[in-house]
Amino acid sequence: MNIVYAVMRKELLDLSRDRRTVLLGLLLMPLLLPAMLLGVGSLAEKRATTQLEKTLQLPVIGAEHAPNLVAFVAMQNIEILPAPKDADADIREQNYDIILRIPDTYPEQWRSSAAADIELIYDSTRRDTEIPLRRVQGTLEAYSATAGKLRLLSRGVSPSLDAAVRVNSRDLATPEAKRGQVLAAMLPYLLILSAFLGGAYLVIDATAGERERQSLEPLLATPASREGVMSGKILAACVFGMVSLLLILLSFKATFAFGGGIFRGIDVSWLVIAKLLVVLVPMVLLGTVLLTLIAASVKSVKEAQSYMSILMFLPIIPTIALMVSPVKDQLWMFMVPFLAQNQMIVRLLRSEPPSALEWSTYLGVGIAIGALLWLIASRMYHREKLAISA
């Protein structure tokens, strides 16, 4: 235990002498994060409000066939434009979001009280179309409903007869959950990535770097056990990683406090911050132990660093898998590294605290995986080649 402490102390002292690296490592994310969050948050909100409130431009083909409908639509903050030459091409070239086509069969169908066909032309793969489309559809449905009810009334039938069932929906998504949507996608990844690779520089330097500088040889010639030396180095990286995470979370809290409307309702109380730190402990452990394992098994710092780009993708894989085929929260999810962290963080931010079982599963499995990797890494530390680089 004294060995672990001695090694950790030395590594942190050594690192603290390298001021620029420490400052970059500790402060870069906490400073960038607010900019990113505020930027993304306000961008999303701005887009939504402008699209909802600004006058929508809607070219109409065959407006002369349905003057009443066009007049109704024009009252709903929608500007009617004359028919374009080639509607499909205009949509493809993104000149317009939506085009309304009223075929010449409309007057005939309308007069005979049949359901008159009209057509909306749009490209649903364009995210920008979403809100305008909803506005136009809503307006058209309102017109259809009004006209339909008038027809029933004119025939002496109660308008509510046509509705056998009236659906009242009650959306259980809390306002908190709704606001958290954008951030929910980004924040967990940012936090997991910082936890996973936050101490990477220190870890790689402490093993592969020390080997390259040939100071591992005298170090391992001391009676200190290799497990002890390795654990000290891992612990130092964990301490550094946790400090860096604490700073990130503090900046996160500050951002939310000053962020205004967009973030209101996302839970960033001190209790949640503390819980997030606990959630990220297994991630920090996993990252440092895995990197130690890699650093102990490669020939050089350069080789170790080339693994970093692969490692940066790891945290995003389960999240993407879940996006593609969503399943509801299940206990096994709290066992899969990265996915588990993602679930825990999302739940905490949405003010839906994980249950005691989920907590204990999460922490138990996380630490067990860390311990397993530690065992493999310590085997690597016993290789004869490790100490000798020349």
């Binding site: 002292l13 002498r17 500088r213 100071s215 040889e217 005298p218 010639a221 200190a224 056990s225 004869e384």
Partner: protein, 248 residues
């Protein structure tokens, strides 16, 4: 006391198997300086790495004060002070911090470390550099730091790989004086060198290694008599079989 019996070690390389050490035996007594002399690439460093348990021999045994390196590696390391070929001094730490770190790894108490640090700093003449970061140190200052660090736990046996490598004349003389001082304290000192004069000037016992094997051993007089040469230098050349790689 260090006893080496029939050490063998080979490495796989791209060009086949290299027998780095191929049957090395010698005994280094307490209160004596034993010199391993040989050309570059003779197997001196590999032999020493097996002595300080960083490499496992393919065959053969080493005992340090009666402890077997294969069975009791930790006890062996406790009894050894090691200056490896690459000094491996931490450049962002001062000599004092470098020394203290190793003291802690040896499980020493802080006041014992402080006392020993002071003693070594006096003996090696390091007072002025003790609290400067070692980045930018001269070769000599770095070697001194590494030696002080290796001796912080006051070991009975001292293994030094080319301790005078890259040092200027004055520092080399001081280093020799320091080695004699270690001998006078009754320690067992082993050092390697490819410089003949140095070995001749210092050693009570000389072990000449070439191509992984011990080709001759004894004190300077014995070697001269054995090879029938008046001049020790000629005896060395004869022992090694060629002048290649030997720094005269």
């Amino acid at each position: 006391m260090i006893d080496v019996r029939d050490l063998h070690k080979q490495f796989k390389t791209k060009n086949g198997i290299v027998k780095a050490v191929d049957g090395v035996s010698f005994t280094a007594n307490d209160g004596e300086i034993t010199g391993l002399l040989g050309p570059n690439g003779a197997g001196k460093t590999t032999t020493m790495r097996m002595l300080y348990t960083l490499m496992t021999p393919d065959r053969g045994t080493v005992t340090v004060d009666g402890f077997d390196i294969a069975k009791d590696a930790e006890a062996v390391r406790r009894r050894l002070g090691v200056l490896p070929d690459a000094r491996g001094v931490y450049k962002r730490l001062s000599p004092r911090e470098n020394i203290a770190y190793f003291g802690r790894l040896h499980g020493m108490k802080e006041d014992a470390i402080a006392k020993q640090t002071q003693r070594l700093s006096d003996a090696l003449g390091m007072a002025e550099i003790m609290d400067r970061q070692t980045e930018g140190f001269s070769q000599g200052q770095r070697t001194k730091t590494a030696i002080a660090r290796a001796l912080v736990h006051d070991p009975r046996n001292v293994i030094l790989d080319e301790p005078t490598n890259g040092l200027d004349v004055m520092t080399t003389r001081a280093m020799r004086e320091f080695l004699r001082h270690l001998r006078s304290e009754g320690r067992c000192v082993i050092f390697s060198s490819h410089i003949m004069q140095e070995v001749a000037a210092l050693c009570d016992r000389i072990v000449i290694i070439a191509k992984g094997q011990v080709v001759a051993q004894g004190n300077a007089d014995e070697l001269r008599a054995h090879y029938g040469e008046e001049n020790l230098e000629d005896a060395f050349v004869k022992a090694i079989g060629s002048e290649e790689g030997l720094h005269l």
